[in-house]
């Protein structure tokens, strides 16, 4: 059975400017035990898809199940199976950390949960904040509590909607160690993130959304393999010639150009020299997920509906 199954999920909002298609016929499955990444630029529909999964929003058409439970018809079982870390940094100002966790546990009908609550507090570095009021916590600490609240009923499927947006390195390390441990113990993880190096390091399979459509669905390793194999990276002062600029990913002085072989690398460098520029700190590296992501987003003006079926690929 799939941990999560999206079946032709569409979402249409009615706004003042007419109908907005936030999601269009999105279908894919996530197998039990997978660490799955959902990527896409802002406005691609990631959060809408997760909201429909979590019951915070309703699909206009299509069906979503969690471990076989329909999120509409069988919402209680579906929600018991899910632990969702919301994107917004929200908290209830009336309660302490421990109270918030006890209450959240109670909503799910889980009694005598102190041992697990203690373990969550310990694992997320919150033990010394257990009695602090939520208002007194820093942003990073509040984020940890959100993670603890999502896990308090021991859900088999964990959904993290940009959990590391704006959090410090220490928390990221703590969080990923803990989530990776839960994944090893059998929990399914669905992650959306803007940090592509995190997705590359953690997720075994990845889906990409663009303008509400699924444009990629592959194992992370396959995605990386099919990408143009190398990237030429150098620093330069001044504007690149137009032909190169069209291919390049430019961040300040840093220029990164896709290159398949040595001849292409030589051509790029020759073009730079011909423009009267001097390339410094030249290096060649393997393509990473960010290159693949940019490539997919650039080439899929039209959606790729012929993605590899809706079953989890690669025997996952």
């Amino acid at each position: 059975m799939s941990a999560i199954s999206f079946q032709s999920v569409s979402k249409t909002y009615r706004s003042a400017r007419g109908e907005v298609h936030a999601l269009h016929e999105v279908s894919f499955d996530i197998a039990e035990g997978e660490f799955f990444g959902l990527l896409g630029p802002n406005g691609a529909g990631k959060t809408t898809l997760i909201s429909i999964l979590a019951g915070l929003a309703r699909a206009t058409s299509g069906r979503v199940t969690v471990l076989g439970h329909d999120v509409r018809a069988d919402y209680a079982q579906a929600r018991r199976s899910l632990g969702v870390v919301p994107q917004e940094l929200v908290f209830d100002p009336f309660f302490s950390v421990r109270e918030a966790l006890r209450i959240q546990s109670g909503y799910f009908g889980v009694r005598n949960n102190e041992a697990w609550i203690d373990e969550l507090l310990q694992s997320l570095g919150l033990a010394d904040k257990a009695h602090a009021n939520m208002r007194q916590l820093s942003g990073g600490m509040k984020r940890r509590v959100l993670v603890a609240q999502a896990l308090v009923h021991r859900p088999p499927v964990i959904v993290l909607d940009e959990p590391t947006a704006g959090v410090d390195v220490e928390l990221r390390q703590t969080l990923w160690q803990f989530i990776a441990r839960l994944n090893r113990e059998g929990h399914t993880v669905l992650l959306t993130t803007h940090y592509l190096e995190e997705a590359e390091a953690l997720c075994s399979r990845i889906a990409m959304l663009k303008l509400g459509r699924l444009v990629a669905l592959e194992r992370t390793s396959d995605l990386l393999r099919q990408a143009s194999s190398n990237v030429l990276r150098f620093k330069v002062d001044g504007a690149l010639p137009a032909a190169l600029a069209a291919l390049a990913r430019v961040t300040g002085r840093v220029v990164q150009l896709p290159a398949h072989d040595a001849a292409e690398i030589e051509r790029h460098l020759a073009a730079v020299r011909a423009a009267g520029l001097h390339a410094e700190d030249v290096e060649i590296r393997k393509a990473d997920l960010e290159d693949v992501f940019l490539d997919v987003m650039a080439t899929h003006g039209a959606p790729l509906q012929a993605v590899k079926g809706v079953s989890p690929g690669g025997g996952a």
């Binding site: 909201s51 979590a54 019951g55 915070l56 929003a57 309703r58 919402y75 209680a76 079982q77 929600r79 018991r80 899910l82 969702v84 919301p86 917004e88 929200v90 908290f91 209830d92 100002p93 009336f94 309660f95 109270e99 209450i103 959240q104 109670g106 909503y107 799910f108 009908g109 009694r111 609240q149 999502a150």
Partner: protein, 251 residues
């Protein structure tokens, strides 16, 4: 505790943690009404021959406090959670619309009764208050608080801003409570306004509640109870329906 019991407990804890504002302040307001209206009108208004004006005033003020605070509890909790965003914790939980309803309305009844008891405990010192029919007192207090708690759920779901909530409170709830016969018997009004008052469900709640103390009322307590039950069924039905469809809370 089961899911709805936890939500109920959390909602009671929420107002109890700020009881100075949610219980003590409304009690003080009730006492101030008592002092001012009782002092000014004691010698000028006579509603029933056997009852002093101050005694007449006490049950009305108590019921007014019960109703206003029951409404304030569910409505302000919902709008705060919507605006703060922490409603998501409840939305993510496997709680049915009935769980939401009983938790929010139940906690509103608790807050209404807590304030009502507080107002009574202080104002009862000013006059001799009999307890002619205690069961009627309890029935009107609990059902009236449930009606306003349900209305608060509807208002809390509907309002997007504190501004809209304040409008609901100031332009609907306040006029209806003040024009319900808390401070006077509607028999003292001109015929037209008596007719208008009979359309106000708050009038029946105050009148029936007062009957429980004095055994005297403008209309039969059975009529008042019937009006209250019909209003409660209609408003609670709408509240449950809105919770079931996730009105303004599930996109």
């Amino acid at each position: 505790m089961s899911g709805w019991q936890t939500l109920f407990y959390k909602e009671v804890l929420r107002f109890w943690k700020v009881a100075f504002q949610t219980v003590a302040a409304p009690v003080l307001t009730g006492v101030l009404y008592m002092l001012i209206f009782g002092h000014v009108l004691e010698d000028h208004v006579r509603v029933y021959d056997s009852i002093s004006y101050t005694a007449f005033l006490v049950p009305g003020l108590v019921m007014m406090s019960v109703l206003q605070n029951a409404f304030a509890n569910s409505s302000s909790s919902l709008i705060q959670s919507k605006i703060m965003g922490n409603l998501v914790f409840i939305l993510l939980a496997p709680l049915s619309h009935w769980s939401w309803f009983f938790a929010y309305v139940g906690s509103s009844v608790v807050r209404g009764l807590a304030v009502g008891l507080g107002v009574f405990a202080v104002t009862a010192w000013f006059a001799d208050i009999p307890f002619a029919h205690p069961l009627w007192i309890a029935a009107f207090a609990v059902l009236g608080a449930a009606l306003l708690g349900s209305l608060g759920v509807i208002a809390g779901l509907w309002a997007d801003k504190f501004d809209q909530m304040a409008a609901f409170q100031n332009f609907v709830i306040m006029p209806m409570t003040f024009l319900s016969g808390v401070f006077y018997s509607i028999h003292s009004l001109p015929a037209f306004w008596q007719g208008v008052s009979h359309l106000n469900p708050f009038f029946y709640m105050i009148d029936g509640f007062r009957y429980g103390f004095f055994g005297l009322s403008d209309v039969s307590p059975w009529v008042s109870l019937s009006v209250l039950l019909v209003a409660l069924a209609a408003v609670a039905g709408l509240a449950v329906h809105l919770l079931r469809i996730g009105y303004k809370i599930r996109g």
